[in-house]
Amino acid sequence: MSAPGFTNLSSSVNYNQNSTPNGGDAPPYQNGPAQTYQSMYPPTGCYGAPPQHQSYPTIPAHSTPAPSKASMTNSVHSANYYQSNHQQQQQQQQQQRPVPQHHVAPSPYSAPPSQPVPSSGPVPPHAQYNQQLQHPPYATPGSYYGPQSYHPPPAQHTSQQQQQQQQQPTLVPAPASGPGAPLHPIVSYPSAPGNSQYGTLSSSQNNTTPGVLPTQMGAPLHQYSTSRPASTTAAQPGYGVAPPSQLVPTVNGQGSTVHQHYDRSCQSSLSYNTYSGAEADQLPSGTPSTSVHSSPGHHQGGDTSSSSTGSASPVPNSYDSLEGGNFPDSMPPSNDMTNQAAPYGSYGYPNMQQGYHQGPASHADSSPSHDPYGQSSYQQYSQPFPNLSQLSAALGGLSGVPELEVEALTPINLLQERSLLPPRPLEAPEPNLSPELKKVNCSPQTFRCTLTSIPQTQTLLNKARLPLGLLLHPFRDLQQLPVITSNTIVRCRSCRTYINPFVTFLDQRRWKCNLCYRVNDVPDEFMYNPVTRSYGEPHKRPEVQNATVEFIASSDYMVGTKRLQVNDNSTTNQLRPPQPAAYLFVLDVSHNAVESGYLKYFCDSLMENLDKLPGDSRTRVGFLTFDNTIHFYNLQEGLSQPQMLVVSDIDDVFIPSNDSLMVNLKESKELVKDLLTSLPAMFSQSRETQSALGPALQAAFKLMSPTGGRITVFQTQLPTLGAGALQSREDPNQRSSNKGVQHLGPATDFYKKLALDCSGQQIGVDLFLLSSQYTDLASISCISKYSAGSIFYYPSFHFIHNPAQLEKFQRDLDRYLSRKIGFEAVMRIRCTKGLSIHTFHGNFFVRSTDLLSLANVNPDSAFAVQMSIEDSLADSSLACFQAALLYTSSKGKRRIRVHTLCLPVVNQLSDVYAGADVQAITCLLANMAIDRSITSSLSDARDALVNAVVDFASAYKSNVSNLQQSGLVVPAAMCLFPIYILALLKQKALRTGTSTRLDERVFAMCEFKTQPLEQLMRMVHPDLYRLDNMSDQGALHLNDTVVPQPHLLHLSAENISRDGAFLLDCGYVFYLWIGKCCNDMFIRDVLGCTNFASIPPNMSHIPELETPLSQRVRALLDWLQDNRAFSSMMHVIKDDASTKVTFFQHMVEDRSESASSYHEFLQQVQQQMSK
């Protein structure tokens, strides 16, 4: 572990060292390899030793990084460079430097890989640098990877070589290997087995060796933990953030790198893609970004490369750091290469060779040897790794049995088993993939499939009676995202898929698309790897190492072309630069609005956030208010105060002034501030009760259509004037009817049409509805639904009477105004041939079969799609999905964010069940039920949900479980399914019999369609914890705080006792329920009140007390709050009649006045099954 510098050692060094230890530690590999090698590859010898030597060492190099912690980055680079470019150098150096050669191997190879590289650490890059400068980056590829050695060197090359040689002396001096050397052997050693495996495995194999698993675990964890907490394995958001943990992860990362390598090599047999993915993730995370930047060598390298391929990183740990991340270069090449011995192969070769030679000898025991290794690393780094299920998975992997699957399939009799909830919130199930693929796979928070094992045929899918679909959260805030600037974005030529970790490299020059299976060429530019600064390693490019990447798009992706598609009719806007950020606020100022008092709070909030509005110097803003007339505001720079222009002709709205209504925020900031301060007072006397929302929206549309952008509408009552006027459709007496609920659909197509117009002009409309009466959200919401906006609803909003809503409104506004935004976006979802998407859920306009038009895209909305299997997937073992989101950032850059998910294809029903993701299924079913209730009726939708459980249970009973036991039996993976469905049936959106306002119901439906899965699940099935007796058992340690991890409780009143305090986490709101007999200490320490009676009735904050209990409770709350976009409200609920109801309505397992309890529900299901 000790010498950080050590990492630097290039492969060559490692090799040597390796050999040294070998002498002591592990004889078998030592001699074996070299010899075998020779024998296997006589031709190589002919070609010239040097290149091989270089490559030879590579493998060890990989391994080396593991032990040494951080700073490896530079050195690695250099090493890489070195290797690749200066093959000759090495030789020379060798000669120059007396290197102890322990190598026993008879082959000439042993010698060359020697010292120079390691020692050189920082130095070599410079040298390289120079060279690069001398030649256009790619012009002389030869120099890069030294095909010279293979072929008679052309004149040019020779000259280069000479240069190199000259430079070498400088490089050499930096000695260094000293301290690190002893360590190396240990590390590198284990690598061998992996390689050997590689050599031996046949290409068909895609299953992971058991031994490999640990690696996988180690790697992803730390990786995620450091860099992107959000995306992590699942859940524990807090982890990533914690600085202390970071250190560890780093280490981990590197350690894991090593592992992966091996794994990879094992898998490489499968195909290239495997490895390509494998490394990607770890690298960035593994190496702390700081180290990267600090290194001079690295930077220079960066400059050089920039000419062709560069990287920019707006996100803290982005690609730049990625680059810094050590890529210990060499990868085992594909099988093909071995045979072909293509010139490019020279790179990859070394590994292969090693693998090969070792192959026979070590193969047998390869996996065992893995194990200890993996384990040790695992133990070492296990601390940051919070996730129990993963752990068990890993262990399962260790033991070599797919225990997870078995576990997931354990039949559970729901009628007998009462406690089904896991102690911690449920994690997304891991697809049953090889560890390499798992490692690079897209985060489940971004991309989730209802069935993590895709059934092979539609028949099998039908048999399973589970819906197949994807849940996407593509624009989620990521803490770490590789950003790639590249002149050519490599895509499949027939299906336009972006290159991703799951493609197959047939050889260095060709790759096979994983969606359509077309074989494509690898463009020249892609041959250069900016991460390792080496040439000829397309499979190590960040695009191929990360399932989530972002490209800075070139002019091909400019709006013009896209615009054409969007709006065939409009010829006006073609080919224009990316739009500036443009925000228009449309404010209701009728009497009703003034009464509710929102205007002041909105203006205050906007004033505060004016500088945080995403955008650049071109950002434009505008304001428009309306009651029965429409008021525009001239904010032209140079005016002494804002000018109000009133248009009272609402039947034929026109824009009174062309260019002064949307103004540059920077130039007119003073005027904007003026307006915001005076606006609330301006209308305080308004007596106008009519609302001309429709015409106001038309005006807003006209105002924005030249640029596109975001319209934010605040509305407080039913629109009554002009186009789009609506009538009240709600019959209050029907609110709690058990029969169908009417009027869930829109009353007019006005808003839909307008939304489509907006969408065509790249205008997104966000709706804030603050009203106490019926406002026909079902109709109005269309304006946002089809223009990819978001909808916020604050029922009975009043600034005095309803402080809770006011606070929520303010918090939401803070987030809303400052959150990231993407303009003029489109998202395309591609799937492996044979799969097709047939239904979309979410706010957008589906422009063609797989293309979603999103005028605005925000980080808080999610999408769902349903899929069907059109052709059998039998000919492939993997199914892939790619979502590509093309958008204009608020800074006016066209960017493409690409997510790729890879899942195994199975042909057994039991495998399908084992991979079922119950949360994703619930969410997808919820979306389907919402559609159903709008197109058909609510009772239909409810029946369909119940039938989903019935069908599933009977399908499982008849097809999979061979136990003839009575009762309701489901596989363990799906044991929460009935609870979730029951909880769904009790949601506002879908419940009957309980009084529910139509608007609230409709809003709940909209939420279902747009909320990301975690949020939705918390809303449907909140997490219940008991707080008064939390222990530190299993607590998390983040930074200096201890975050207790109380167990999840079933949502039933029987778990709630009067002497306790319970926390209910509903996603957007926390309820802290205090029992009547709750001990006074808790009340005093946490709430700061003396006893139960003195707790104020509307408490909505936990005071910051210095007591340990309070600290722990707040730590828990903060931790839960972490990574939620919108900050959650807190309500303290006392155990007395008035407010209790809000709390107990979430106890979904209990019987309510109109709905059955969980047990009754199960019996109902069972009854229907036996029919």
Binding site: Q565, K752, R847, S848, T849
Partner: protein, 139 residues
Amino acid sequence: MEAAVFILSLVDCCALIFLSVYFIITLSDLECDYINARACCSKLNKWVIPEMVGQCLSTMLMLVSMHWFIFLLNLPVAVWDIYRYVKVPMGNMGVFDPTEIHNRGQLKSHMKEAMIKLGYHLLCFFIYLYSMILALIND
């Protein structure tokens, strides 16, 4: 007289055939992503009423001229056309709604419907042709 009826329905039928072909072409354009949903739907919705009128016209002609068999053949299609038109939800932009056409396999079912109609109209076409010739000969 009878010949005139059939000539008229023949012309009507031709128009319906062309309409069906037009529907199929437009829908398949949408399927292949040559046009966008909005354009496609606004194109198609324009022709929903003419199609319905055409179908009802030939149905009425047969009823008036008391060709019961052909009338019964025509009736279900006419009823379907009317039903489909009446059943459009209030908020939708017509039989073809751009926001829903890609959902729940609607595109496919529209396509299927257009195909079936095309086949049906072709059948009718030959029946009318035959009847017309028969009528002309009889005259």
